[in-house]
C-alpha cells in the first residue's frame, strides 16, 4: 500500500522533472529563476511601484481606507518645501527647523560622517590585519565581532552607556562640555551617540573589504619599492593608495547605501522623534499619524535620494577605473 503511494508520488514528481529536462536552456533558466523573482517581485518590485502610487493620493486619516483622492505630486511639494504635516520635516528650505531635525539632512549628515569615519578606522584595522603576527586570527575575530552583533544589542549597549542612571559616558561628555544634561533626548547629542555606535559596529565591515583589496595587491611591488629605498609611508602613498581606490569606492558605496537606511539603532536608543532619519520618518508617519500617503511619499523620496547617490558613486568608479588604465 505504502509502496504504491510512494511510487505514484515518485511518478508525480518525475513528470514535471522530465518535462523540465526537455526544455531549452533559456526556458530552463527562466523557470529556475522563477522562485527568486517571485520573492523579489512580492517584496520589492511590486511594493516599490505601489509606494509610488500611494504617494500620489491624499491622506485620509479618519476614513477606513487611509488613501484619499488622487492629488498628484502635492505630498512631494509639501515635503520639499517644509510644509508637510508630519511630526518632523523632510526638508525645510527656510531652515526654521534645526538642520538635524530635517530628515534629509539628518540622514545625509549621518551617512557622510559615518562612512568617512568608518573608512578611516576600517583602513587602520585593515592595515593591522594585513600584517603577519602571532594571534592574528584572534585579533581578527575581536575586530569583526561588533559587525555580527544584533542592532538591538548594539543600541542597548550605547543606550546604557549614555543613560544618566547607569552610564558613565554622559558624565564624561558633560565634563568636557560636549553634552547637555539629558543627551538621549537632545537631537545633537543623540546624533553623536548614534554616530559613535554605528562607527563602533560597522568599521569592521570596511576593514574586511579594504583588507580584501590590500591582499590582492602584488607583494613584489613593495619589494621593489623597498629596494629603491621608499619609506613605509611612501610605499603606502604611492602603491597602496592608488591600487586600493577601486575596491575602496565599492566598499564606500555599500556602506553609504546601508547608512542611508538607518532606523533600528535610532529607534532603540534616542527614538525617532529625537533623530528623525528618513526611514524613521516613514515609520512615524505611518504608525503615529496614520498619514499613509505621506509616509509613502517619504519612502519613495528616500529611494530616489539613494538612487542618486548610487549613480554618483558609479560615475566616480568609472572615472577611477578609466584613470588607472
Amino acid at each position: 500500500m505504502s509502496t504504491d503511494t510512494d511510487r505514484t508520488n515518485a511518478r508525480l514528481l518525475a513528470r514535471p522533472l522530465n518535462w523540465l529536462e526537455t526544455r531549452s536552456d533559456a526556458v530552463f533558466a527562466y523557470l529556475l529563476l522563477g522562485p527568486a523573482f517571485l520573492l523579489l517581485a512580492v517584496v520589492a518590485f511590486f511594493p516599490l511601484i505601489q509606494t509610488f502610487r500611494f504617494s500620489l493620493r491624499a491622506d485620509a486619516i479618519l476614513s477606513a481606507d487611509p488613501f484619499g483622492e488622487f492629488i498628484g505630486f502635492e505630498h512631494y511639494v509639501e515635503l520639499l518645501t517644509g510644509e508637510t504635516l508630519l511630526p518632523q520635516q523632510f526638508l525645510d528650505p527656510s531652515f526654521q527647523t534645526p538642520i538635524l531635525q530635517q530628515a534629509l539632512f539628518a540622514t545625509l549628515a549621518f551617512a557622510i560622517l559615518s562612512v568617512l569615519l568608518e573608512t578611516a578606522i576600517g583602513f587602520g584595522q585593515a592595515l593591522i590585519l594585513d600584517q603577519d603576527f602571532r594571534g592574528r586570527r584572534w585579533v581578527r575575530v575581536a575586530i569583526i565581532i561588533p559587525y555580527a552583533i544584533p542592532i538591538v544589542i548594539q543600541a542597548m549597549i550605547f543606550y546604557l552607556m549614555f543613560s544618566t542612571r547607569v552610564g558613565f559616558a554622559t558624565e564624561f561628555m558633560q565634563s568636557i562640555g560636549v553634552f547637555g544634561s539629558n543627551p538621549l533626548s537632545t537631537t545633537t547629542d543623540s546624533f553623536l551617540i548614534v554616530l559613535v555606535a554605528d562607527v563602533w559596529k560597522t568599521s569592521a565591515f570596511m576593514a574586511l573589504l579594504i583588507l580584501a583589496g590590500l591582499q590582492s595587491i602584488d607583494r613584489q611591488l613593495y619589494d621593489v619599492a623597498k629596494v629603491t629605498g621608499a619609506s613605509p609611508w611612501q610605499r603606502f602613498k604611492y602603491i597602496t593608495l592608488p591600487l586600493i581606490s577601486g575596491p575602496l569606492l565599492v566598499a564606500m558605496l555599500f556602506r553609504t547605501m546601508d547608512a542611508m537606511r538607518i532606523y533600528g539603532l535610532i529607534d532603540a536608543t534616542a527614538g525617532c522623534q529625537t533623530v528623525p532619519s528618513m526611514s524613521c520618518l516613514v515609520v512615524t508617519a505611518f504608525n503615529e499619524t496614520r498619514r499613509w500617503a505621506s509616509a509613502s511619499a517619504v519612502a519613495f523620496l528616500t529611494a530616489v535620494v539613494i538612487s542618486v547617490l548610487v549613480l554618483l558613486y558609479l560615475l566616480g568608479l568609472r572615472d577611477s577605473e578609466s584613470g588607472l588604465t
Partner: protein
C-alpha cells in the same frame, strides 16, 4: 623584519649608538625611534592593535558589568567594575519580570532558520542559473537582483504592511484571521527577499567554479539537471553554501526594521528577540541590569558563530561586497 638583518642597516645601527648622554626616559625613547624608524613603525603597530582591541571589546565587557550589578546598586556601576555581584540575573531573565524571554529567543531562532533554508534553496536555483547558464536577458536580470539590495526596506514598508494585514481566504485554514500579520511569515518573507541577493552572488561565484565535466558525468549517469544541482554541484560547493547560510542566519537574526514592525511585539504573536530585550524597558522602571543580561544571552549564538565560522564570514562579505 628582514631589514634589520641587512648588513648595511646593522652597521648603521651600530654607528648610531650614541655616546652616553644624561637623558630622560622619554627623550631616550624618542632618540631611539628617530635613529631606527622601523622600530617606531613596529611600536605604532602594537599601540594601534591594542587600541582597536580595547575599543571593540570594551563595550561588551562593560555590558557584563551592568548585568552583574544588582538592581538596587545600578548607580554604582563603574567604568571597569560592577556595582555588586549578582550572577543570578542570567537565570532571572527567564523566570522573573513576566517577560517570556525564552519564547522571544525561540521565535528569533525559528525565523532565522526558516529564512536561511528558504534563501539557500531559492538562491541555489538562481545562483546555478546565473553562474552556469547563458541565456538572453541574463545581465538585465542580474542587475535587477542587485538593485533590490540598494533600496531601503522603508521603501517597501507601506504596501507590504497593507498586504500582510489583508485577509486572504486561502490562508484561513493556516492562520486564524487569514492575514499574515503577527505570524512568523510576516518577517520571514520580506527579510528573505532582502538578503537573497547576497546569497545569490556568493553561490553564483562558487557554482560557476565547478568544472562542467562533473555535471556532465552526473547527467550521463541519469540524474536530471535539478538532480545534478543538488547532488553534485551544491555538495561540491559546500564551503560556499555554508558561507551563504552563516551570513544569512546572522543578518536575519540581527535584522531590526521588519522584525520590529511586522508583529504586535508580543511573544505569542511571534515577536522576535529584539522585542524581548526592549520589553525590559518598562513603563515605570527600566531594568538596566536585566536588559544587559538579556543582551548578553542573545548575543552568544552569533558570537559563537563568528568565532567558529570567521573565515566563511570574511570570505562571504568580501565576495558579496566586491562583486560589481
Amino acid at each position: 623584519m628582514s631589514d634589520s638583518e641587512h648588513p648595511d642597516l646593522a652597521a648603521q645601527e651600530q654607528m648610531d649608538e650614541e655616546p652616553e648622554l644624561d637623558r630622560g626616559v622619554v627623550e631616550a625613547w624618542a632618540a631611539r625611534m628617530i635613529s631606527n624608524p622601523d622600530r617606531a613603525y613596529k611600536s605604532a603597530f602594537y599601540v594601534a592593535t591594542i587600541f582597536f582591541l580595547v575599543t571593540t571589546l570594551f563595550p561588551f565587557y562593560w555590558l557584563l558589568m551592568v548585568a552583574l550589578t544588582p538592581s538596587n546598586d545600578l548607580n554604582q556601576v563603574g567604568v571597569l567594575t560592577p556595582g555588586g555581584f549578582n550572577p543570578g540575573v542570567f537565570v532571572d531573565v527567564f523566570l522573573e519580570y513576566g517577560v517570556p524571554f525564552q519564547r522571544f529567543l525561540f521565535n528569533s531562532f525559528l525565523i532565522a532558520v526558516v529564512s536561511t533554508v528558504l534563501v539557500l534553496f531559492v538562491a541555489s536555483l538562481a545562483g546555478y542559473v546565473f553562474g552556469r547558464l547563458q541565456f538572453r536577458g541574463k545581465n538585465v536580470m542580474l542587475l535587477a537582483v542587485l538593485v533590490v539590495s540598494f533600496f531601503p526596506p522603508a521603501a517597501f514598508f507601506v504596501p507590504l504592511n497593507r498586504l500582510f494585514n489583508t485577509n486572504f481566504d486561502v490562508l484561513r485554514p493556516l492562520m486564524a484571521d487569514g492575514s499574515l500579520y503577527n505570524t512568523p511569515y510576516a518577517i520571514i518573507i520580506p527579510v528573505s527577499a532582502l538578503y537573497l541577493p547576497l546569497s545569490i552572488f556568493i553561490l553564483m561565484t562558487f557554482y560557476s567554479q565547478i568544472p562542467d565535466g562533473l555535471e556532465d558525468a552526473a547527467r550521463v549517469e541519469g540524474t536530471t539537471r535539478i538532480g545534478a544541482l543538488f547532488r553534485v554541484i551544491a555538495p561540491l560547493s559546500a564551503p560556499g553554501v555554508a558561507t551563504a547560510g552563516v551570513l544569512t542566519f546572522i543578518t536575519v537574526y540581527n535584522e531590526y526594521f521588519f522584525s520590529s514592525l511586522m508583529t504586535s511585539g508580543a511573544a505569542k504573536d511571534w515577536g522576535p528577540m529584539l522585542e524581548g530585550i526592549l520589553a525590559f524597558r518598562g513603563q515605570y522602571e527600566v531594568l538596566f541590569n536585566v536588559m544587559g543580561a538579556a543582551s548578553i544571552i542573545a548575543v552568544l549564538p552569533v558570537a559563537i558563530l563568528v568565532i567558529v565560522a570567521q573565515d566563511k564570514i570574511v570570505s562571504g562579505l568580501t565576495q558579496g561586497g566586491l562583486k560589481e
